[in-house]
C-alpha cells in the first residue's frame, strides 16, 4: 500500500480504478489463453490419424477352415472357429487384464497364461478371474468370397455365420 | 502462407475452369482466305481413353459458297474441360482442310468440340462430338472388340470380318441408343450372362455368364452406355418391351 505511492511509474489517484480494470483484463485474457492453450494442447495430443492395422481382418476363404476347428490368428489376436452351426470369430484377448489367450486343442479350451482364466471355445468363462466371456466379433463374407472379421465390433454370442 | 494460398486459389480456379486454353495462336499465323461453310471431314465421333490422344486426327474442311474448298482459311478449335488441340489454330491446306490432333480431357463422357472459322461475313461454327472412355469403359471396349463386335458391329475391318450380315436376327449395334437405352442395366446383365432367351430374344445370342466375370459384364455395360447414341441418361430407365 505504501509501495504504491513509492512506485513512481504508477501515477497516483483515480488511475487506480482503471489500472485494476486493465489488470483484470490482462489476467483474465491470460487465464483464457491458458485455458485455451490447454484445449489446444489436448487437440494436439490426440492424433487425427492412427498407424494401426485395420480392425477389419481378411481371414481368407471360408473353405480353408475345417469344420469343427479353432484357428488362431496370432497377429490379429482372434480365434476363427468353424463350428457345425457355422463360423464365428472370438477375441483372443483375455477380458481380465488383456493377455493374449491360447487355444489348447487337447483339452478343447482356451486358457489365459497370465492368471489362469479358462474359456470354452464359445467364449464362455469356465473359471478364473476373467469378469466376462470372450466377446464374439462381427463376421461376414466379402464380395470376393473372403471371410471378414471386424475386431472393433462385438456381437451377441451364438450368432453363427452360415455359409 | 500467402504464396501458398494464392497457389491454392490459382489451382482451384484452373481446376474449375478446366484449363480454358487461351488459344495460343502463333503470331505468324494469318488467314489469307475465308470460307463460308465448315464441314467435318473426318475424325469426329471417335472413342478414346480419358486424357489420351485420339487415334485419328480431326479434319474439318472450309468451303466457299459454291462448296469448293478454301485454302488458307483460319480454323480454331475449342473444347471444354481439358481438351487439348495440337495445333489449337491452323490454316487450311491446299485442299481446304484443317487438321488437328485431339487429346481428350480426363473426365469420361461426351466431349463437345467446336471448330470455328472466320467466314466472309460471319463466324462459322462446327460442333464435333468425341467420346472419352473411363477405365471401366475402356475395359468394356476391349471386351466388346473381342467377344461382341464380330456380330454387333456390321462393319468389317482388316483385322476382323463382321458376321452381322449372316445372322437371321440382327443384333443391335452397341451405339444404337434408341433400343439399348431403354433396357435397364439388369436386363443387359441378364442378356449377356444368360443369352438372348433370357429376355425372350434370339438364341443366336449365346450366354457369356460362365465366360465373363461379373465385373467384366459391368464393364461391357458401362461401355454400351458410354457409346450410346443418343446419349444414355441414367435414372429414367424404362423396361424394354418386346
Amino acid at each position: 500500500m505504501t509501495d504504491e505511492k513509492q512506485n513512481a511509474i504508477l501515477p497516483p489517484g483515480q488511475e487506480l480504478n482503471r489500472r485494476a480494470f486493465f489488470t483484470k483484463i490482462g489476467l483474465g485474457s491470460l487465464g483464457i489463453a491458458a485455458a485455451g492453450t490447454l484445449g489446444f494442447t489436448y487437440e494436439f495430443l490426440s492424433p487425427n490419424v492412427l498407424y494401426e492395422p485395420s480392425p477389419i481382418i481378411n481371414a481368407g476363404k471360408p473353405e480353408s477352415f475345417a469344420v469343427d476347428s479353432v484357428t488362431m490368428d496370432v497377429n490379429a489376436g482372434i480365434y476363427l472357429v468353424r463350428a457345425v452351426e457355422g463360423f464365428f470369430a472370438l477375441s483372443a484377448v483375455c477380458t481380465h487384464l488383456g493377455c493374449l489367450t491360447a487355444w489348447n486343442p487337447e483339452l478343447g479350451i482356451i486358457k489365459c497364461p497370465c492368471h489362469g482364466s479358462q474359456f470354452k471355445r464359445t467364449g464362455e468363462k469356465i473359471e478364473g478371474p476373467a469378469p466376462k466371456p470372450l466377446p464374439w466379433l462381427k463376421t461376414w463374407v466379402s464380395d470376393d468370397g473372403d471371410l471378414m472379421v471386424d475386431r472393433s465390433t462385438d456381437i451377441p454370442a451364438l450368432q453363427f455365420l452360415r455359409i | 502462407m500467402m504464396r501458398r494460398s494464392i497457389l491454392c486459389l490459382a489451382f482451384s480456379i484452373s481446376a474449375i475452369a478446366g484449363c480454358k486454353h487461351s488459344s495460343s495462336i502463333a503470331p505468324a499465323l494469318k488467314a489469307t482466305a475465308a470460307g463460308t461453310a465448315l464441314v467435318e471431314s473426318s475424325g469426329g465421333k471417335q472413342i478414346g481413353g480419358t486424357g489420351s490422344a485420339l487415334k485419328d486426327p480431326l479434319v474439318v474442311q472450309v468451303n466457299d459458297d459454291q462448296g469448293a474448298a478454301v485454302a488458307g482459311a483460319m480454323v480454331e478449335f475449342r473444347g471444354a474441360e481439358g481438351v487439348h488441340f495440337e495445333p489449337a489454330a491452323t490454316l487450311t491446306d491446299s485442299s481446304g482442310q484443317a487438321t488437328t490432333s485431339v487429346t481428350l480431357g480426363t473426365i469420361a463422357g461426351h466431349y463437345q468440340l467446336s471448330a470455328t472459322t472466320i467466314g466472309k461475313t460471319q463466324q462459322v461454327n462446327l460442333q464435333i462430338v468425341e467420346i472419352a472412355l473411363g477405365y471401366q469403359q475402356q475395359l468394356g471396349s476391349l471386351l466388346e472388340e473381342k467377344y461382341c463386335a464380330r456380330c454387333h458391329d456390321s462393319e468389317s475391318s482388316a483385322e476382323r470380318v463382321s458376321n452381322y450380315d449372316n445372322l437371321e436376327v440382327k443384333p443391335h449395334p452397341f451405339a444404337e441408343g434408341e433400343t439399348l437405352n431403354k433396357m435397364s442395366d439388369a436386363d443387359l446383365v441378364a442378356m449377356i450372362q444368360h443369352g438372348g432367351p433370357a429376355l425372350s430374344k434370339s438364341a443366336l445370342m449365346p450366354p457369356y455368364g460362365s465366360t465373363l466375370t461379373a465385373s467384366e459384364v459391368r464393364a461391357l455395360i458401362a461401355y454400351i452406355r458410354a457409346v450410346a447414341d443418343p446419349q444414355y441418361q441414367p435414372g429414367g430407365t424404362v423396361y424394354a418391351k418386346n
Binding site: T2, D3, T41, E43, F44, L45, P47, V49 | -
Partner: protein
C-alpha cells in the same frame, strides 16, 4: 460478485495448504515482495531490488529477457513436437508431413519452434553486441561475458542440431556441409566428425545423435548456463548501467557505491 470472488481467492491464499506451498504470498509490502523473490527457487537468482534506472527500456532493450522468452517458447513447443517425432530414417520426414497435414496445430507449433529458434539466434547475437557496445562486459562482469559466449555457442549448436531433425534436403545437406567442416580440424578432425555423426556420413546414427544432443544434452547445458548467467548478474552487482555522460563518473560511482554498501 467480484467481491465474493475476491473473497474466495483471498481465502484460498490464506489457506494452510496454499501457504505451505507459497511461503510468503504476494502482499504489497516491500517485505512481502522481497520474500516473493527470495523464497522462490527460480526467482532467487535475482536481487530483490534493482536500481530503477536499470529497468528503462533503452538500457538493455530487454534483449536478454527476450532471449530467455524464446528459450521458454522453444522448450514448450519442442516438448510438444517431440511427442510426434521419431528420430529414425525415413520416419522423421514422414513425421514432418504428419505435423504439417494431420496433427491439429502441428504446423503452427513447428512454425513457432522454427521461427523462435531463428529469433533466439538473432537475439543472442543482438544481446551480445548490445552488451559489448554498452561496455557491460568489463570488470567485474568478465566471467559473465564468457558465460554469455558459451551460451552463444550452445544456442548455435542447439539450432544446428535441430536443423537436421526434419530430415529433409535442407537439413541433410546443411548438416553434411557443416559436419564436414569439423573434419578439417588438423589431426583430430576426422575423429570429431566420426564421433559427431556416429559414422562417416549423415545417416540414421547421426540423426539419433543430433536428436539426443538437441533434446537432452544441449537444453540441459543451456539451462545450467542460463541459471549461472542470471546468478552472476546479481553477484556482479546487478545490471550494468552506463553513464549518460562519461565525465560524470564520480557522481555515479559514489551513488552506486553507497547503494551497494549495506
Amino acid at each position: 460478485m467480484p467481491v465474493q470472488e475476491y473473497g474466495i481467492v483471498e481465502r484460498l491464499r490464506g489457506s494452510r495448504v496454499w501457504r505451505s506451498v507459497f511461503r510468503s504470498g504476494t502482499g504489497t509490502s516491500t517485505l512481502h515482495r522481497s520474500l516473493a523473490v527470495q523464497q522462490n527457487i527460480f526467482l532467487h537468482l535475482f536481487a530483490t531490488k534493482v536500481r530503477k534506472r536499470m529497468i528503462r527500456f533503452n538500457v538493455t532493450w530487454f534483449l536478454g529477457t527476450l532471449t530467455l522468452g524464446t528459450f521458454f517458447i522453444l522448450v514448450i513447443t519442442g516438448v510438444l513436437l517431440m511427442l510426434y517425432y521419431h528420430p529414425s530414417v525415413p520416419q522423421a520426414y514422414a513425421d514432418m508431413k504428419d505435423l504439417q497435414f494431420v496433427v491439429s496445430s502441428g504446423l503452427f507449433l513447428r512454425n513457432l519452434h522454427r521461427w523462435s529458434a531463428q529469433a533466439m539466434v538473432f537475439l543472442v547475437f543482438a544481446h551480445m553486441f548490445k552488451v559489448f557496445y554498452r561496455g557491460a562486459y568489463r570488470t567485474p562482469r568478465e566471467f559473465n561475458w564468457v558465460i554469455g559466449v558459451v551460451l552463444l555457442i550452445i544456442t548455435l549448436l542447439l539450432s544446428y542440431t535441430g536443423y537436421l531433425l526434419p530430415w529433409d534436403q535442407l537439413a541433410f545437406w546443411a548438416i553434411t556441409v557443416g559436419s564436414n567442416l569439423s573434419s578439417t580440424v588438423p589431426l583430430i578432425g576426422n575423429k570429431i566428425h566420426f564421433l559427431l555423426l556416429g559414422g562417416n556420413q549423415v545417416n540414421a546414427n547421426a540423426l539419433l545423435r543430433f536428436y539426443v544432443l538437441h533434446c537432452v544434452v544441449l537444453p540441459l547445458a543451456a539451462i545450467i548456463f542460463i541459471a549461472v548467467h542470471f546468478w552472476r548478474i546479481r553477484k556482479d552487482g546487478g545490471l550494468y548501467v552506463q553513464q549518460s555522460e562519461p565525465k560524470m563518473k564520480a557522481v555515479d560511482d559514489a551513488a552506486l557505491a553507497t547503494t551497494e554498501v549495506k
